[in-house]
Symmetry: C2
Subunit: 554 residues, 2 copies
């Protein structure tokens, strides 16, 4: 059998599961591994300005492609990425964190290498990551290295959670037979037992068929890679009203006549959704994820309905939980739904069309999110930042052919900006989306502003920045100084991070009319050349004084 290096084997496995780009920051203990990337020619390296941006990018990439990979160096490198890995863990995003380790000899020597904690102990960091991973390994034995790689990657795909692989130069450059590659990795869950699946299916269909007002709820589980493809077919087969949650929004076609809006308890949008959902007597719920943000701060009150909660490994009907593999069950529900008579239709108020009759002078939140619906176009991939952006965006009805996502449970500010980098790369690779739209606010943007560096690499990408971050103020301290966000010159930053791009354009917009003008300009000039825009609305307080002086589209 021919032989390859363990490092090459790892990259072959990544390619096998759909990964084509590696994100990360080069650091000494991973450099030897990275040296293998280019000659092998399978993967592309995309260095990010820091590890946190890299982790967010790998997450955004994985949400599009089914898996992502981040490469960092032992110690400072990996620790800098942990916040991103935590988010992937929380929100079921399979990212493999590959960490370049000191050699086996160095580890065994107990010597104080740089990047260690100075105590000769090389286990601290993997222990830390084990809290945020479904599987970890530090490869020390070349003879078991590839089996370990397969175990960890399989766990990642099975649990849809991050995994951790520590790999040193000596292991990466050990030789291994290619025969292991003959066994392919399992990319999806194994099927449930047919008999048990049939029973559960029958119970689900019975519950739906006997209901007087059944509805479908597209929640967190629907956003998981292996499920998302089933959502629109399910809507079409069931022909009942469906709603999305904050976390589930963006997966389903919101132009469907069955779309009822976003359910988030007291924060539902439109508000009529609350009444509609309260009247449902059976809810087929795709991946209920009852976090505070996702439930309008636990203001959902659903008591009378039978809930059929489909999760990755289970189906709960009312109070009884069954073991089930949802990616197999969903297609069967779709098939079964096609054969049943039309279910009773709960009356749901139709979503009001955006009011385009008049332009407000100031850009107000209520107008803005309605306006987004016409700003967006088929082929847009939208990521909204946690907080104001993600909540406001529930009022935006996605055009067909758009997809959006947001980090609605973990809620790390700065995530969206980094994640957009990875999602845009993935969109290029899949060809599914043409334009990347980032919606964020100043307070969040400042954490990962380095990611601006990448707008120069992304033709067809466009950045929207709504500088309206206010969510912390609503929590506590409406006028407190520590909630002030310093003003930066975002237009200048945008250009300074990519001085080689001479045709980047940025806009600062304070009135609705200016926003319309800019949108028109983009519409007519959106050729496949580099095209970017920063929309900026200064925070209301500052804008008041500045508006008069700056009411031009520059």
């Amino acid at each position: 059998m021919p032989e390859i290096l363990v490092g090459e084997y790892l990259f072959l496995r990544l390619k096998e599961i759909g990964i084509e780009t590696l994100f990360g920051v080069p650091g000494d203990f991973e450099l030897a591994l990275l040296e293998l990337v280019e000659p092998q020619g399978l993967l592309t390296w995309l260095g990010t300005p820091n590890e946190l941006v890299g982790a967010y990018a790998a997450d955004g990439y994985a949400r599009q492609k089914g898996a992502g990979a981040l490469v960092t160096t032992f110690g400072p490198g990996e620790l800098s990425a942990l916040c991103g890995i935590g988010g992937s863990y929380c929100e079921n995003v399979p990212v493999v964190h590959i960490v370049g380790y000191p050699t086996n000899a160095a580890q065994k020597s107990g010597k104080i290498l740089h990047h260690t904690l100075g105590d000769g102990n090389y286990d601290h960091y993997v222990k830390i990551s084990s809290e945020l991973s479904c599987a970890t390994t530090v490869l020390t034995d070349p003879s078991t290295a590839v089996v370990e790689i397969d175990r960890v990657l399989t766990a990642m795909l099975y649990h849809q959670r991050p995994a951790y692989i520590g790999i040193s130069e000596d292991v990466a450059y050990s030789k291994v037979s290619t025969e292991y590659l003959d066994t392919k990795l399992t990319r999806t869950l194994p099927p449930s037992a047919a008999e048990s699946e049939a029973k559960i299916l029958a119970k689900i269909m019975a519950a739906l068929s006997s209901a007087k007002a059944p509805i479908l709820m597209v929640d967190g589980g629907a956003a998981i890679n292996t499920w998302a493809e089933h959502v629109d077919p399910l809507v079409e087969a069931l022909r009942i009203p469906f709603f999305v949650t904050l976390l589930g929004k963006g997966v389903a076609n919101e132009q469907s006549s069955y779309y009822g809006g976003c359910f988030s308890g007291a924060g539902s949008c439109p508000m009529s959704v609350i009444k509609a959902v309260s009247q449902a007597d059976c809810i087929l719920w795709l991946g209920n994820y009852p976090s505070d943000f996702n439930t309008g701060m636990f203001s959902e009150h659903i008591e009378q309905a039978t809930i059929i909660d489909l999760q990755q490994f289970s189906a709960k009907i009312g109070s009884i939980e069954y073991k089930a593999k949802i990616n197999y069950l969903l297609p069967r529900i779709i098939e079964a739904a096609k054969d049943i008579p039309q279910l009773p239709q709960l009356h749901v108020d139709s979503i009001p069309a955006p009011d385009t009759s008049s332009l407000p002078e100031k850009i107000e939140q209520d107008w803005l999110w309605d306006r987004m619906t016409s700003f967006l176009r088929p082929g847009d991939l939208v990521v909204t930042e946690t907080g104001t952006s993600q909540v406001g965006f529930t009022a935006t009805r996605l055009p067909s052919g758009c997809h959006s996502y947001t980090q609605a449970v973990y809620g790390s500010i700065g995530y969206a900006t980094g994640s957009a980098v990875g999602a845009a790369i993935a969109a290029k690779e899949t060809g599914r989306f043409k334009r990347m739209v980032l919606i964020t606010g100043e307070g969040s943007l400042q954490l990962t502003i380095q990611a601006f560096r990448f707008w120069s690499d992304m033709t067809l990408c466009r950045l929207c920045l709504w500088s309206t971050t206010k969510v912390e103020r609503y929590f506590c301290g409406m006028n407190s100084k520590h909630n002030d966000v310093p003003m930066w010159d975002y237009g200048a930053l945008f250009k300074a991070f990519a001085p080689e791009v001479t045709d980047a354009r940025t806009f600062q917009v304070t009135t609705a009319k200016e926003l319309d003008l800019v949108d028109m300009m983009l519409e007519y000039q959106d050729t496949p050349t580099v095209m970017k825009a920063v929309f900026e609305e200064k925070r209301t307080a500052l804008a008041k004084s500045a508006a008069a002086a700056k009411s031009t589209v520059s």
Copy 2:
């Protein structure tokens, strides 16, 4: 007894140990705590653009003031800071990481709050931090909260390592008697037993007195807060040649006639140091920290000398280790040294004076670090980035009245930029230093570029940026693409991060003559108004082509 809130108690304790500024990023679970800061009027809040910059700033601050504090929010906030905390742990910097927790009720409910991992488990994050802290606590019981606070802060000061305090809004707002404050925290180690200390002292003095070529080595331990003040008095009392290591450099007065240079094995500077140290037969070593970076990649070869290694909790003389508290032992060594006859003097080649006879056309490393000696002035506080900057700087002989430090063991790139923020604040508070000088390279700067935001707040602060990051290339991949650092427009970034500062000045310098010109300009205009400069030397490869076109001081 009057009562105060637990949150106020915490801040009183911080103030007691010398902390006047809190660094961090506001996040929902810590907002209530932060609301107490301003009314109490003891501490100042300094919000940083992200948590990593905050952690580095708290570290830089603690290195100047004896302790630092970082406040972040549960989950994403605290995880984003971990790389910085790891560095503080490794390099003995006491930083208390205060984490805003969900309320006790929320934690007990097992509900899925945002920022959790979605599993109802609230222990993951403190487990993670326990790997990087000498003590941790999550305050859940108001009746023991202040005792816990005292325990953890005392441990931090005792071990000179980071500590972790989780505090929720309900605990922070619980009332507690002020009587606990009557017992002051212990800021230094308790004394050793007098008899045992006397014995060890006698052995040390006997070893020194019987040596034919004794020397002093100022290493990592000397940089620890509680020791640093003893270093110059020790040099003066001993009157024998002394050397510094990478980690110990910056503490001692290098204009002393006893200063011999930087010992770093094969990387010593000047190279004559190797010979001198190899001839020593007794080395009084302040806090030996034999890491790879600190020993010229383990190229120190000291065999024939008796080493007296003074550590925080021990003194090792030859092969015998004694328990000792070094902060008490050091003053006694100083006293004893005054009473003994002049010790034999090892011949040490004097450090060559910088060659100022000619100006090279291009800025070369060899010229640059010599030139730094005359650029620096009394009252400068210098932080050098890990890698090229910290190694190059060993050739710079500090003027009297300067202090410098670097992260020589942990070696996290991006550290220096963030750390300088905290060190500059501390310098303002202590009045010990007038000017902050940051020496870093592009590759490192990009990780924490947000810290540029603070140069506008710091009068008398000056930023030096030497864009010569090369160290990764020397490790592996001299010409590899993944080691390329994208070119950013640093001058523009500098201004865009602080658009409110209209008199900021930045310089891009490619020749030695230009650098001299800029230094002269700064010399004559360095009034207490806002004064900043960015020096940029493009990486050698790029500079070659650009030098001709850009050879002006703009």
